[in-house]
């Protein structure tokens, strides 16, 4: 009895999904699920999606959970699967917890894309990963920026997000590597890595502790938007801008006051807007059959030029990090 009802429901759901797919030729529907709501970074990313879809004629919607815990995205994926959208783009909160629910979406013919962060260790559960830059270059890029500001000499520390964040760990590993092996950075000494959990309060106390514990501290890299903002605030409050140089990954809007008042000289990031834009182009292309989702394929995105699908279906929006300083920061609004 139940089974028959279930089948009935299933066929109904499929019929609806089928209808949606049938329309896909002229109207692809994309839904984006960011880590959590209220995060300005993702607001900017969504903007890229919207503009892309405006040009391409796809429909776009973003659905964010309230909190960034591991399970909070699951009901959203299921619901969108049920709605029969054609593309689910997601910035995963957990690299492990989503496998099954994403597989189920893919079984229904939905294109699943990891955006901004990948399902590290579970790459087979998504169709492609759209990452802003080549993450192997992020770490060295940050070290170079800080080095150039402190004359490649002095004690430095890293203020990261969580110990378990895969991207952070990739970057930090690359930083350690380049600090150890590149003679250019031989006089820069990494003292410690602190974790602020992407929580303003905790990042603040961790940063204060760094300053206090290491009087010789000359530079701090904080490759996380929450961390770098908190660290800048601490430096400003403590009046230590002359002694300690801060850099990291931060959004222009978040960092603008600090860069303008000289607390921070430069930060880096990529364009989240471009991530959204690229994902929209890629998704519509794959759905319409114009782009073959296999490594080595190239395609054009207006404004971004030619993009190549890399190994493991990873696509980068840009080659290098963008550096924001006093000269250019007012050109960006995200």
């Amino acid at each position: 009895m139940f089974k028959r009802l279930t089948q009935l429901g299933l066929s109904l759901g499929l019929a609806v999904a089928g209808a949606a797919v049938a329309h896909a030729a002229d109207k692809v529907s994309i839904v984006y699920i960011p880590k959590n709501t209220g995060n300005p970074y993702f607001d900017s990313l969504e903007k890229g999606f919207q503009d892309g879809c405006a040009k391409l004629g796809c429909t776009f919607d973003a659905q964010a959970p309230a909190t960034a815990d591991a399970t909070s995205q699951i009901p959203f994926i299921t619901a969108q699967t049920q709605r029969g959208v054609s593309v689910i783009a997601i910035s995963p909160n957990s690299p492990d917890a989503l496998n099954q629910v994403l597989d189920r979406a893919r079984e229904r013919g939905i294109l699943v894309l990891a955006v901004n962060g990948d399902l590290v260790g579970n790459l087979q559960h998504r169709d492609a990963g759209i990452l802003p830059v080549d993450f192997t270059k992020t770490g060295p890029g940050q070290v170079e920026l800080l080095g150039s500001e402190i004359g490649y000499k002095g004690d430095i520390a890293i203020l990261s997000a969580t110990t378990d964040a895969p991207d952070q760990n990739t970057w930090i590993a690359a930083m350690k590597d380049v600090l150890a092996h590149n003679p250019k950075y031989a006089k820069m000494k990494l003292l410690t890595i602190a974790y602020g959990d992407d929580d303003p309060q905790k990042s603040t106390t961790e940063m204060e502790a760094l300053i206090q514990k290491y009087p010789t501290l000359k530079g701090v890299i904080s490759p996380t938007t929450v961390g770098v903002a908190a660290a800048a605030q601490v430096i400003e409050t403590a009046g230590k801008a002359k002694q300690i140089t801060l850099t990291g990954l931060g959004t222009p809007n978040q960092m603008r006051p600090f860069i303008k008042d000289g607390t921070v000289h430069a930060i880096q990031l990529w364009s989240p807007y471009n991530e959204g834009l690229l994902t929209a182009y890629f998704a519509v292309g794959v759905k319409s059959g114009a782009i073959k989702n296999s490594p080595g394929t190239t395609f054009e995105v207006p404004g971004l030029g030619t993009v190549t699908i890399g190994p493991d279906h990873i696509i980068n929006t840009q080659a290098e990090l963008t550096t924001f300083d006093e000269s250019n920061i007012d050109k960006y609004n995200f």
Binding site: M1, F2, K3, L5, T6, Q7, L8, G9, L10, L12, G13, V16, T37, D61, Q63, A64, P65, A66, T67, D69, A70, T71, I74, P75, F76, T78, A79, Q82, R83, G84, S94, P95, D96, A97, N99, Q100, R104, G121, T162, T163, D164, D197
Partner: protein, 330 residues
């Protein structure tokens, strides 16, 4: 001054027609809400009317719903336990860490359930032997258990469990996912316990007047202790279900779940001051929550509305339950 009514004054009350007595029950209100939610849900989104979808969505809430069933008994007995979500996290993290450390998975499961017993017993000890209010105790232990899970597992997520363990929510029997089946089964068992056994009867009596229950020779402390331990065990089991469903575990498992569990119980018409409430109410309320949450999600209603609706529902349900019961008592 005592305000006892002579028998004659209350005769209308006792002879109130059955339909009115039934209508005035909080559970009826919950059922009406459920029907309304289904109708509204269907109107809001054409994607809503699929049973398999609803059942699949129900698995996401089944762990909280199962715990809410036991929590119903705890609240009827006049206590409360706000720590089950944290107990789920700590026991699941223990399970994950043990498994990762090479402990056979069966033994790891036993460890997690034993940890549930220990945590529940600790709550019970603090409340029953040290005579501290359960609300404050479990607010303390909810923070502490969650913190211990964090210390134990850090912020990494533990995964790579064997395939047979993973994905309990995708195993079905008669088209119904296993966690939902467990929930239905647990509802029936607990409804029988609460409604037809002496234990159930005594839980109501304790909740109505703990002192009178003790004077009547009911082993109040033993029953309450058992309830607290059951909370621990059931939380541990639900922690395992969640781990299986997510194929991984992290310290933030089920975070904020205490609010949802209390919400389910309150929504089901259980009286916050104890002595009244039914498993049926909690059962209906569980489905109501599933329908509301999935209905809103599938209709693309932003999460901000969902938080608002949940909070509002909690407050409205305690107010109305309270009004219904205080009117009946007048």
């Amino acid at each position: 001054m005592t305000t006892n009514l002579p028998p004659s004054a209350s005769s209308q009350d006792a002879s109130k027609p059955l339909w009115r007595a039934t209508l005035m029950r909080p559970e009826t209100m919950t059922l009406v809400l459920l029907v309304a939610a289904i109708i509204v849900g269907s109107l809001l989104s054409r994607f809503f009317d699929s049973l398999s979808f609803i059942l699949e969505s129900a698995t996401y809430y089944s762990e909280f719903s199962i715990v809410a069933l036991v929590l119903t008994l705890v609240i009827i007995s006049g206590e409360i336990d706000l720590s089950p979500a944290a107990m789920m996290a700590l026991s699941a993290c223990l399970f994950g860490s043990a498994f990762q450390a090479g402990v056979p998975i069966g033994l790891a499961m036993v460890i997690s359930i034993v940890s549930g017993v220990v945590m529940g017993a600790f709550n019970g000890f603090m409340v029953l032997w040290l005579r501290l209010p359960s609300l404050m105790v479990t607010i303390g232990t909810l923070t502490m258990y969650r913190g211990l899970a964090q210390i134990l597992a850090g912020d990494r997520s533990i995964s790579k469990f064997p395939t047979w363990f993973v994905g309990v929510d995708y195993r079905e029997l008669y088209g119904v996912p296993i966690p939902v089946l467990i929930f239905i089964f647990a509802s029936i068992v607990l409804a029988v316990v609460l409604g037809t056994t002496i234990l159930g009867r005594q839980i109501y009596q304790i909740g109505t007047s703990e002192v009178a229950a003790r004077y009547a020779g009911i082993k109040v402390r033993r029953i309450k202790f058992m309830l607290f331990v059951s909370m621990g065990v059931v939380s541990a089991i639900c922690g395992l279900i969640a781990t299986s469903r997510l194929a991984s575990v992290r310290y933030d498992l089920a975070s904020g779940g205490e609010l949802q569990m209390v919400l389910i119980v309150m929504l089901g018409g259980t009286y916050i001051f104890g002595g009244r409430g039914t498993i049926l109410g909690t059962f209906i309320a569980s489905w109501l929550l599933v329908i509301i949450a999935t209905g809103m999600t599938v209709a693309d209603i932003p999460v901000t509305y969902q938080l608002t609706v949940m909070g509002l529902l909690l407050i409205v349900s305690i107010i109305s339950t309270n009004l219904i019961y205080s009117r009946n008592q007048a």
